[in-house]
Symmetry: D4
Subunit: 249 residues, 8 copies
């Protein structure tokens, strides 16, 4: 793993075979060069504080299993999103601590639980149909070691539902708000508490929801200034960035 | 104005020149025929219970004045939307009861006030920038003889504002709710009271509001089932249909 | 169900343990607090005059049945939209008054018929393919206790069809007009009678209909001012808001 | 103008200098070659039966004048669309038969009137704001020698207006129907008469008309099968293709 | 079928029971009234010169058969678009002259062949995948009694293909040009001959063709002025309007 | 400001005039009632930890000045976005500590500097044209008392530019990344450091950037999971939410 | 294959039966005429240097096989895109050198390998899900005789991956860069090396990727000036144009 | 400019103060470190073979002049796009070899002409209104030292125009094809010659051209496989990538 070329340059320099200027010229290109040891960068956990994730969408069961085994040989923990039952049957029989979260089709293997941030992450959803996306955020944030409180079916058509959750809201460090259709819940939550709100539009709806576009645009145009948005149905991303925000405290 | 052709047919029939069957055959085509007296249909006030309106958008001052004079020669009342000051200067000097509503650029001439519905129409707007559209609805509904209560700057980012208007909301027969940006207010209002809600998206916003598209889609996807939507910035239409609903009581 | 905390406050106040100012301060936060009895708010029928509805779209048969049983234990009546035969087989065997409306896949249980508005609601559709959406509106309005008259296949390509329904149109308090493709029927109907028109675009069409977008835009841009629009294929919403309008009379 | 190269080949062939095979090989490439006389093809009037047109949009007054003079030196007639007053002032002073059509900003020079088709072309517009586009169609069709009847402000919100024009409609060979907003008029006209309908959406409208998109989509999804559509505001194109259709008779 | 009410009015008038003015007043409302005999208007063949068509898209086999039998009891001929084999098996066994056009899934019953226009209709398609749409146009135009010549796979990527069809093009009265992907063929054909061109965009393509949108926009923006456009994949509409144009000659 | 009605209820209760049950019933409606003291909620600084902001976009100079004076009479600090020079000339002459930030047209009045979070907020922009939006974020975050480091013109077309800022990136608690055109910078920054990234798309670009839509979609689809997005050109929102995140530490 | 008509003209001319002018007049129309030998143009390989390709998308197995046999009877080589296993089973049993590339569903028959350009074509993909599209480009470029190096999973979320490929990048003549989601890789690659970059957006992604639209817009707005774009998922087109560019050297 | 830190490391190593392993560890981080000499990378001419360009769009005259002076102090040549007359007046008076290309608003300073590729670049435009974009491509390619031939107004509505340019087309190494409206020219050119085609959509058009979207989509869906596309109106990008392709030969 020690780059032979670099060793050679240093040896030549030390032995006086090449001058300082030449070394500098050679190194000049380093910002873009493959020093071979760049390959060690797959220790992504060191750089990002987070073990590997497999996005199951569009991958076959076989592909997922192969990648999973490779990652688990080097990392204690693993998260797979959009994994179906079959993946769990295979991995579950091999890894004791493998768990399947059927409401969001996520699978986790946790052998050395991570230490998350000190605060709490709140996850709120407008309707029951938004729960799978919300649960993906919950599982992700918990996998990253965070304390998570969730509260579903608190959409704006019955305001008392979210209003009655103000104590919970205030106890959080960051809130993930999941909503489809007109996506109005993040604006309302953002107006109630001074937390960073990570809004997740969902593809729940029909007709002029255009696969979540209505909710997405609604959230981007929120009149509450403390709302930032991730992709439609991207529960994982919301759980991930909320974990990073929580870690900040 | 008496249709000569029809008279001729009837006369011929009475005089026995043509048989019943022939008359029926001739009349057969009437559903689509120009009986000339179709032209009397410009008595739109009889058919629709509402005097003429001039949509000022895209018309020159001269065009508006010419149409206005023509209409006022036959109708006691007139509403002009999107009329500028110059139109008012001209008409105001000729008609005593001419009034200019500068906050929504509407002009009214009311010589025989109309009798509206028995209930009250509520007009609510999310932000101050939405006021011109809301005021167009107010002026329209008042012009049609309705009692109107308005309440502005009650957007969802500060929920207490609309919550504190519940008494007002409950006292109305129908509510017009005007909002730009994410357009969430109609959903919230629709969840608070069991009124028919006419939602008006506005072009207030920037970036991903796409000229009011975000608010429009949000309102169409409302999770409150009692919301129906009119075109972006269409304050007049909202005032008009709300007046018809109120008249129903 | 009586909130103990509130009782305690009142008792303490009556016994002179806390001053008026303190009570007021404690109540100060109530507008946003969970008083527990907020949970009674599931008596939505009191607030909205309408019993619960289950939107079947995207729910499994099992989920629908579970919710249905829960609601029917507290409410005499129930409406389920987008319910399939299997749901009916289950519920129909348990509830005598359970009825399946196969042309719009709606299911109703009516044990204490509701009292609707005094007038009539008219439901019109442009084409035969629009009938399922129109029927969802009919079933909804009837479930809410209204008298409903429907008239299908009266699209604008054969004007005599809608023209021949003028008597029916005039006898209504409010009209629901359902159309796909170019969605022109609401404009025509809106020009014929001075009723509030609830327009429902449908996804009927192909190519540049873009899943109902063409009809939706057409209706939003209606040159008839008495037209308001609900979401694509949202027959339920149209029936619901029309019922509220009718109740106003 | 006689292509010298071709002459040389033929001469060489006749004199026996080159063989038949060689001539054929040389000609082989002709379908794609510049034979120089291809340049004569600017006699577009021969090929298309229609003299040159200058599309004024986006051209400076100077550019238009230069092209106009060039064309008028070879053709008796000329049509300029979207020409402003200044162009007319210049050309009008030089050409006696130059005429400016201010309602559609078109300019014509007609020195040898064209002979159009035997039938009549009808031009109908929904609103008064659509008139400039409709007039561009009228001027174009008249310039091509056709008899044209126009009838404006016959939109579908007042059906009696277009119904009263059925006799006119039936007397035409082809109808041009111009409408903005929801663009429903072509469907209605197409249902009344069995003529080819050329529909022209206009950018008249606001909000969700999206610059004429709503009218365009409406016309493309017409439930009347005899409707074909040209670009938004393309009065010239409609007048041109209608003239070709009329010429067919 | 004779309207009794009208008969009564005429009888009363003849007998002097009611005055001329009263008759006129009664008839005044006729333009919009249901005279009952409006129902005879299902003789669409008289008004439009074209027998009934069933659009099979989205109809069940049973629905199609029921409507087909009803129409065939009154009309000699019938065209069904988007009909599957099963419909043919049923109808084919009952009607000798029933024919199935499998390449475009159309079915025709022709018992009294129609007399079309005197000229020829040309149908051209860019690619082989566009053939089903083109064939729908061919079958429609032939069903309406026209002589049709078709020529497929002449897209612009190999210009010699369409150039070699110039003689055919010139022999037509009107050309239908069908293309997916970039939809450039109508512009090229429109530049070659001075015919009315009915352009049909198809949904052939992938990625940024967006279901035919690219081809549709291309055709609407054609730089050839003799191009008018119908809906994506609407071969029937193109064949129908081309037949009307041809009939004009 | 003491709510008389509530006082009355309490007094009646203490005096035994009304029973406990009645008080509870009366209070039952409180979650939605206007207790008048709801009006004190304009102390938004208490609830949200942030003084008032005036969004200058679309307001006249006069309107801004009037609101500014009102707010400054109650709050020590004020931020105005999209304020032009004229506003500054007026306010600057009245308030000593008034400062105009001309590169982003923001105006601040800071009389009692706020205490922000303990960490640093980094603001990065891809191009020089994105600077005004980035500066709005900087001014907002600084106004909220944060330490801010900014670094502009580090777009992905010259990777060494952002790579050379890794030390700065690592020293931040949260990063705001501003980019127009293809909006790729947030993905690259998000891959380099494990910070929460607030991405701001800008309307910088032309053609297929569609007013910032391309950058917006790019950021929403980021392959880096730590990216959340605010509206196009919304520098203020990014600065605001980043301040909330920083405060969390 | 020798055009008889042309031979006749030349013979008549040589024999003095027709004059030079007549020959020229006859040839005058040639630019657009069908000289019959235009049909030889199916020797596309001569004109474009590339043998025939069958686009399998939307064709049945039978259709593909029939066309394949026809082409292979005249050409030594053949490429079929989007071909399924069944096509290979049939062709593979008949042609020894038939090869199936299962990762991109392409099939090749190479009997006389083509000679490509002298340089190397690099193919890079952002994610593993983009590989099928990238492989289609690889297979196409190799089929055209080029040396190809590919390198996958080098997306911008882990910059070291593409940075470590700089040597490979610099060794290429042209680079094909394939990416879904935000499509940022081509900009980054384009900034690293001064090669022509052919960018291929893929439909990989979900939610606001809108089937590849986000990646497409990102690439079109690239801040690197050396990027040109082909259609979404169009690996074949990228491989084809890159081969043409490489041939240029 | 020599990085002191690196020098220190090397000196310490040579003097035996630090071991080889330590040097390697220190260099380990270099791929992402700011080595200070990264700043020398503004010698973009070395890396990309092309001197700096200033994109004038959205920059003030003052900003452009300041950047221009800075660049000209280090580079012999400069290209400014979208520069107005005022910029030229300033720079022209200071630099003798400064040239203004008024038809595309580009400005060049060429003191040491570049050596371009050996072949020729052809630039073709469909209409005269597309010329400014085409000229930007011409100026760019010439500035990079290439031989350029241009040919305008050869759109597909008059095919003989582009057909007569086949000799020119065949003499090029690469072709830039510029078109607005339906954008069909690149497909046609791509079918005529086996060159790489760089297609440039322009915003020329109106109505359903949607600012160049129609042309863009048309080009992306080209049925000719040798077409790649740049952004709308991006003449510079086309000229730049064509120069890179030409250099390849």
């Amino acid at each position: 793993m020690i780059p032979e070329r670099l060793k050679k340059v240093l040896k030549d320099f030390k032995e006086g075979k090449i001058a300082e200027e030449q070394v500098i010229t050679l190194l000049h290109d380093l910002p873009y060069e493959d020093l071979e040891f760049a390959k060690v960068d797959h220790h992504r956990v060191l750089r990002h504080g987070f073990p590997e994730v497999i996005f199951g969408r569009g991958k076959t069961c076989e592909q997922i299993l192969e990648i999973a085994e490779a990652l688990l040989s080097k990392n204690p923990n693993l998260l797979i999103t959009s994994a179906d039952q079959k993946v769990f049957q295979e991995l579950g029989s091999r890894y004791e601590c493998c768990q399947y979260h059927s409401n969001c089709q996520a699978l986790t293997v946790v052998r050395e639980p991570l230490q998350g941030g000190p605060g709490k992450i709140g996850v709120f959803s407008a309707g029951t149909a938004d729960i799978p996306v919300a649960e993906e955020a919950v599982v992700t944030a918990q996998f990253m070691g965070n304390q998570v409180s969730s509260c579903y079916d608190v959409g704006v058509a019955g305001l008392h539902r979210i209003l009655s959750q103000r104590a919970l809201l205030k106890s959080c460090n960051v809130a993930i708000v999941v909503a489809g259709m007109e996506g109005a819940l993040p604006s309302v939550v953002g107006g109630l508490v001074d937390l960073p709100i990570i809004a997740v539009p969902t593809s729940v709806g029909y007709g002029a929801s255009f696969g979540g576009l209505a909710a997405l645009l609604g959230m981007l145009n929120s009149c509450s200034a403390n709302v930032a948005v991730v992709n439609i149905d991207n529960g994982f991303g919301a759980g991930y960035i909320a974990s990073l925000i929580n870690r900040r405290r």
